[in-house]
Amino acid sequence: MTSTIVAGSPALTTVAQADPYLEGFGGDPWWLIGGKVLAIFGFCVVMALLLIWGERRIIGRMQNRLGPNRHGPFGILQSLADGIKLALKEDIVPAKVDKVVYVLAPVLSTVPAFMALAIVPFGPEVTIFGQETHLQLTDLPVGVLLVLATASMGVYGIVLGAWASGSPYALLGGLRSSAQVISYEIAMALSFVAVFMFAGTMTTSGVVEAQAGGNTITLFGTEVWAPSWFAIVLLPSFVIYVITMVGETNRLPFDLAEGEGEIVGGFHTEYSSLKFALFFLAEYINMVTVSAIAVTLFLGGYHAPPPVTAFWAGANDGWWPLMWFMLKLVVVLFFFIWLRASLPRVRYDQLMKLGWKVLIPVQLVWIVAVATMRVLQSEQAGTAVVVSVVFTMLALIVAAIVMWDRSVSRQEAAEAAEAAAQEAALRDNPMHGGFPVPPKNAPHYGSSVAAEPRVSRQEPRKEVTGA
Amino acid sequence: MTIPWLTLAIALPALGALGVALMPRDRSEHAKRIALAVSVATLAVVIAIAVQFEPGGPRLQFEQVQSWIPRFGVHYAVGVDGISLVLIALAALLVPLVLLAAWRDTADFPDDGKGYFALVLVLEAMMIGVFAATDVFLFYVFFEVMLIPVYFMIGRYGRGADRARAAMKFLLYSLFGGLLMLVAVIGVYVASARAGEPTFLWTELTGPEGALSGLDTTVAIWLFLGFFVAFAIKAPMWPVHTWLPTAAGSARPGTAVLLVGVLDKVGTYGMLRYCLELFPQAAHWFVWPVIVLSLISIVYGAVLAIGQTDMLRLIAYTSVSHFGFIILGIFAMTSQAQAGAALYMVNHGLATGALFLVVGFLIARQGSAQLEDYRGVQRVAPRLAGMFLIAGLAGLSLPGLSPFVSEFLVFVGTFAAYPVPAVIAAVGVVLAALYILWLYQRTMTGPTPDRLRSMPDLSGRELLAVAPLIALIIGFGLVPRPLLEPVTPAVEQTMEQIDVTDPAPSLDEAEAGAAADQTEGVGE
């Protein structure tokens, strides 16, 4: 890790510092690396299969059905059977596709999904065959950025697959999907910022360490027990992360990309057989990945939940943390499924509106607020300063909300007034607006239903940007 | 001196031009009157200067020096010696006459001549400025800016369809020369900066103590060339003379008077004043080439003049020949020759000016400058023909008329130093007789065709315009002293500056002076 701060001299100097969190990494022997890689790979595939099965079972239960229960105990081998079935299906490559891109797209979608898990810490340092090592493939000084990077690369799989398909549904789905993913990626990336402020590092292991143990917070002179999870300390960030992780993985209620009602299968409409399976696999691995990141960054990682340590001192020793990690992961994954069972799909404009008009501004305000508080604390500003800054910020936020609300209601009132005027004008003259409506008193036109108001040509144009 | 006479002489026409230009278009008659009044006032100022000028006094008189662009050592510096004084006087004299001559020409001008009159006044200011400047930079500024009014006078108020091209040709030739001169001007500055304080003041640059005295000869040659090419184009000298016939042919006669009568003298004046005095060592190096070129000019101009069918072009070619004489005189480097050359500048202005004016009257009557359109004019317009004859005879330097004095001096001076060129130059005189007499014979004599019968003779105004010139030609032919008196000391000082003495083998300097006196006596 290098400290990237500019000194007061013209020459920008640097002080190379070894990041304390990275000391334990990079020294693994090759067999250990190989083992870890295989383990993560296997973990991904197995988790994906289990997740698919679990999802169907749980949703079945929630919908008073049974779900798959034929293959293996509780139907646990259902996904495997599905996979084999897909492998035996005909691999159709439509005539109009761009062959190379079409074939490579699923690969491009799958590989990044796997790679993101490389930096997830499954547990602390353990001993494997006499070799001290972390239960984590590797860690990077920019660890979390790898998640964002792989997520972005996953978009290529979607876009290229959609484009190469040469089908309108696929193209539309792909565009929608990529627009959605990149939109939510911004909010997601912003939700990490507060975490980094508190952790002071971007290494995942460092973030997990930063959440270890219970902390105390000194607030107005009194010591208060504070939970150490960032999910609690930085609740808004966590909430937004949860929303974005759902959006990022194209899951319900944000699965517009493959909204069957509108655009068939979305970007993978034209894919079949194992190519389709790869997309499918990637989606579920992505779910696992973002859940693992949620656990790592916000839910204390592999550390045991706070109350546990109170009565079980050894909960964080040895291999046990792996269990805590898996438990948390399963809880988050369950949440995904729960969402899918409970919520209807949103409209596309609502989805984008939420991403751009709510999540991002809220995040920005939140980041500034957190940073201000933190800086004020570290600068040891007096209580009066802190209070006044807090109140100023609150006042600004309230004012902004009020103004926004007023502008919205004004706009609504204006629209209502306009609609009313239109209606009135139509009542007086059915020809209003130039739409050829036969007069109401025409002999054969006795319907009492009011004609639909039409936007008149004379109305001042709405402004358009770009389009 | 309390009154800045020279500045006044420059500013008066300049302001007058501004006033004329700002007059409303429907008052162009007033504009013309104002222009004439201003030019007469300027003439009065110049006469005042001439009266106060002391021929035996310091070289530069009426000096005025003011810092202009201190960074470049540029000054607004004016002053006159004898040579520049007579040229300024010539300019100041010709302008009112030209205005008078052009009084009725203006009907076919796009703006009733208001612009033309304003341009003439601008030109007058520039002409006085260029002769009065004693700062190289200021001289260059006037030298270049002068092009603009002439350009418009030819291009916009000229004659014939070709005038735009002629104007362009004139401008480009002059600009080209001017730009080369700019390099040399900058070179002078750089050289003076190397020698100490950078300056453009002519007085500080020249002379054995001057800033340029230590100049390396190679550099001096290049700088000399920069100036000389510009002046040669202006003069005009073979082979860069080709713009003059075109320009004169397309110009109004009044414009041509100023162009050939005064403007082109800047070239010869510049050679005398700047080429020679700034770079004497280079000037010596260039004597022979220049003499050869001037001889070619003399003969070539005369020969081509014979072949012309357009009177304006014919006169222009005669001028090329005459300018050859002037340059020859300058580079002969004897005091007689140079005095003759200086004198020639004035006399040529008078003679050619008169010739152009008379031709202008013809054109105003018949609308043509072609020789074949005129025959037997002297029967219907004897006064016109008379004036034409005198002016023409002046052009061929008939003894008794003023150009004779100058031409004679040039011959004598040149012969003393370079006998062979002098002999060759004499061919020019013979040819001059040919083309002038032929011109007169073809247009003025013979039977008068019917269409010319109704041609009126000179009106009072026209007579007023041309008569002063004729009078001066005759007057100075008989009594050249008023011209020689201021010019001679200036020439002697020039000779001193460039470190040349008369080569007359058998005569010492005193006798040379006596010889000069004798030549004065010839005129009387």
Partner: protein, 545 residues
């Protein structure tokens, strides 16, 4: 205090001190930037009907306040040193910078007047519509307009201010792009000949991006050699033979200088990097062209001078031959091509290229006189150009028609509109370098510097090129004054107070700088070194280190 497990990396204490920024010295740039940002806010929140006046007032007030700040700065500048550096020495405010800033601000003000005067005629009602489409017609009827142009101009001006003031390559690169991007967009907004305008924008953009990539790679190489992007450090590193990381790094440095020069020469439009100029000048809306032709050139040369005179000062002997060739090529090639042009804006574009060549002769001089001469030339050329383009906006093909681009359409203008034609003639004469105009003094200054530095052949070439350029300037004058007007004739918009004042300013500047340049040289421009032999004076002394 909330401690996150004491996990913060311990940081170097050296980095803790907060930097000290002299905001007054940055004030002009900050003001322009603030006005630009406010302009965006205005776009977002002010109702459409009020946007234009608000934007105009904002832009004007911004520029004027910036200029006032500049005047204050001039007073505040320490008398005993060339200037001050600010913000980690990334920005240098010294006398050359201040002069350029003043010039750029005034030119921008003048261009802005043209923007304001020609909003309907010059700019497309809605850039996003497809030319000739129904949609475009609707926008035209609705009198839509892009009030965004004003903030864009301000952003471009910000870049123009920062570019010559930047004291390291990073700032310079950022400034270069801040300067360029708004112009790329503005270029494509012409109302008439939209397709052409759009293609001009595309061409400008692609070539601009291409050249800035070269610029950047050059910076990278120089950085590799010197270990820093700061001009002063580079100079010192070059003197010391490199930062020692790359063995035998001189080729690296040479290549770096060459590539940096490519980027800079592109911006100033020197041959062989001039290709964009005619197309862009012709295709862009004329007010934008005016801004580009004046402000951009001034800023770009400002930057170029600083780079060559400060960062590469010790390497004069290495880059001088290159600039020799470029200067000669620029003057000769551009002058030769310009002769064949038939379109006014293209002609002015080529003339701008030639002038770039003239200024390059002063760069070759690498002396304080050269610096002063180049700066003066820039100011003189800038004002004349703005005036010339202001005239171009007024002359139309027919009543209500497009601007008369073809030279032949200008025939007879001198007869019908003597004043306007007179102004243009004055500008053209200034371009040609006729005495008593600013162009002459400028030429004199640059040629003088070049000659003093021993570049006599360059000066001669320059003079010959001047003669060629004079030819085509004069041709326009011939057309205006000596040709009969065509049947339709040029139709001239009566200049409003805005355009009128721009032309007035152009005329005034052209004359004042031509007749009384003394004060400018004595008080505004860097002075030649007082002590010592002139040849040994370095232009570097004019800059703050």
């Amino acid at each position: 205090m909330l401690t996150a497990g004491g996990t913060l990396a311990s940081l170097d204490p050296a980095v803790q001190e907060a930097p000290n920024i002299d905001y007054l010295m940055l004030a002009p740039m900050l003001v322009v930037f603030g006005a630009a940002v406010l302009g965006v806010v205005v776009e977002a929140f002010v109702p459409r009907a009020h946007r234009r006046p608000t934007q105009l007032v904002l832009a004007f007030v911004g520029l004027v306040v910036a200029f006032v700040c500049l005047l204050v700065q001039v007073r505040e500048l320490p008398a005993d040193s060339p200037g001050v550096t600010i913000a980690f020495a990334t920005v240098a405010i010294d006398r050359p910078t201040l002069f350029l800033h003043g010039t750029v601000l005034l030119l921008a003000l003048a261009s802005l007047l043209l923007f304001a005067a020609n909003r309907r005629e010059a700019f497309a009602p809605q850039a996003a519509t497809i030319p000739g489409s129904e949609e475009e017609r609707e926008h035209e009827e609705a009198e839509s307009e892009h009030t965004e142009v004003y903030p864009l101009v301000l952003f471009a001006v910000l870049g123009m201010l920062l570019f010559p003031a930047s004291n390291d390559f990073l700032t310079m690169f950022v400034a270069l792009e801040v300067l360029s991007f708004p112009l790329y967009l503005l270029c494509g907004l012409a109302r008439t000949r939209r397709l052409f305008s759009q293609e001009a924008a595309l061409k400008y953009f692609l070539l601009g991006a291409y050249s800035s990539a070269f610029f950047l790679f050059g910076i990278a190489l120089v950085f590799g050699y010197a270990g820093s992007v700061h001009f002063v450090d580079i100079d010192e590193a070059a003197a010391a033979g490199g930062a020692g990381v790359v063995e035998q790094g001189e080729p690296l440095l040479m290549l770096g200088i060459a590539l940096v020069a490519v980027g800079l020469l592109f911006k100033v439009g020197a041959v062989p990097f001039h290709n964009w100029k005619p197309d862009v000048y012709q295709g862009a809306p004329t007010p934008v062209t005016a801004l580009m032709a004046s402000g951009t050139v001034v800023a770009a040369f400002g930057g170029l001078l600083r780079v060559f005179f400060l960062a590469f000062d010790g390497l004069t002997w290495d880059w001088r031959p290159m600039l020799w060739i470029v200067a000669i090529l620029t003057m000769v090639v551009a002058a030769a091509i310009a002769v064949t042009q038939r379109d006014v804006k293209r002609l002015l574009a080529y003339s701008s290229v030639v002038h770039a060549g003239f200024i390059l002769t002063a760069v070759v001089a690498a002396s304080p006189e050269g610096l002063a001469g180049a700066l003066f030339y820039l100011a003189a050329y800038g004002f004349t150009t703005v005036g010339a383009f202001a005239v171009v906006t007024l002359v139309r093909v027919r009543e209500g028609g497009a601007e008369a681009g073809e030279l032949s359409q200008w025939a007879g203008l001198g007869r019908s509109h003597p004043l306007l034609a007179g102004a243009l003639a004055l500008f053209l004469l200034a371009f040609a370098g006729i005495p008593l105009t600013s162009g002459f003094i400028g030429k004199f200054a640059v040629f003088e510097a070049a000659l003093a530095a021993g570049a006599a052949p360059l000066v001669v070439v320059g003079v010959l090129a001047s003669a060629i350029t004079a030819f085509f300037y004069v041709r326009i004058i011939v057309l205006m004054y000596f040709s009969e007007p065509q049947e339709e004739g040029p139709w001239v918009v009566t200049p409003g107070p805005l355009t009128g004042s721009v032309i007035g300013v152009g005329v005034a500047a052209t004359l004042v700088l031509g007749i009384m340049p003394g004060p400018v040289f004595d008080h505004l421009l860097p002075q030649p070194a007082q002590e010592g032999v002139p040849e040994e004076a370095s232009p570097m002394d004019m800059y703050v280190r």
